[in-house]
Symmetry: C2
Subunit: 145 residues, 2 copies
DNA sequence: CCAATTTCCTTGGTCGAACCAACCTTGGTG
DNA sequence: CACCAAGGTTGGTTCGACCAAGGAAATTGG
């Protein structure tokens, strides 16, 4: 991982910087999540349920940017862990209504703490102000309102 | 890719924003590179050769953050394309001295143009100033000098 | 009220990037 | 000379991101 001086042309491409930063984040998250016995996707799903309430699999997936088939696998894990309940919606029997369990709510806080630590680690070279600016710029790039 | 309103907890995690931005960049680069019949790795390797001159496979890999075994495959592609020459270094016969060919130099410019366009596409929501600030912040995060 | 279409979930894949381990040849060192 | 380190090659694994087909249930339109 030692990065000898990298080519100027490369360092000048934001896409390369983003990709490298993402790789670093991915590795840190991987370590934190295996330590916690979870996944980043779990956090995303639990967060969506907490904020928006019970919902169908597709809508949760749209909110978090997770594919339907991946949602399926993630919800299998979360239900066997008891963090989420999957019941077919009586008002539309195509849907599975996913609800957050009390254990899931606690799990969310647990994963949130772990991931917040990862942010500190990832961005330890930046001041609080710079972190805010980076967050704002990336939010703008992704056009999230 | 339609992103319905995403959970606040998620949007607040820079690692998530970086990962999503990286996914977008990755897709755009994929399109641009298949159109050009190349890869992002090719660009990185050619850029390293142009800036630092002929070198061994490992050192190029260290500069670009590419694994040895991946370097092997990439150099196979680049040599059959005639963009790079691989010759065993007479002064150390363990090494392969990789050199940039004239065609490789032209190829570098070609890929640079394609990737510069990708940056424009990826960051079209940002002003030139904001792009510079984002680049500076990410460079700082990655501790590149 | 029936037919066609759409939605949601499930299943079973593919693909590429990142990474790892073992091995061989060659170079350097005690 | 014996031993270890470095460069390269080969052959893998893993994981996230994605795609396609199909079944069940709802909706729409004639």
């Amino acid at each position: 991982m030692e990065m000898e001086e990298s080519p100027t042309r490369l360092r000048g491409k934001p896409s390369w910087l983003i990709s490298k930063a993402s790789a670093r984040a991915h590795r840190l998250i991987g370590e934190a999540m295996t330590a916690a016995g979870g996944r980043a996707y779990h956090f995303a799903i639990l967060a969506a349920l907490e904020e928006f309430g019970p919902d169908s699999q597709v809508r949760i997936g749209q909110r978090c940017g997770i594919d339907q088939s991946d949602m399926h696998a993630m919800l299998n894990e979360l239900t066997t862990q008891g963090h989420v309940a999957r019941a077919s919606d009586p008002s539309d029997r195509r849907r599975n209504l996913i609800t957050l369990t009390p254990a899931g709510r606690r799990r969310l806080e647990e994963l949130d703490r772990a991931l917040s630590k990862v942010q500190d680690d990832l961005l330890n070279a930046l001041s609080a102000d710079e972190r805010d600016r980076l967050t704002a710029l990336l939010t703008h790039v992704l056009a999230l309102t």
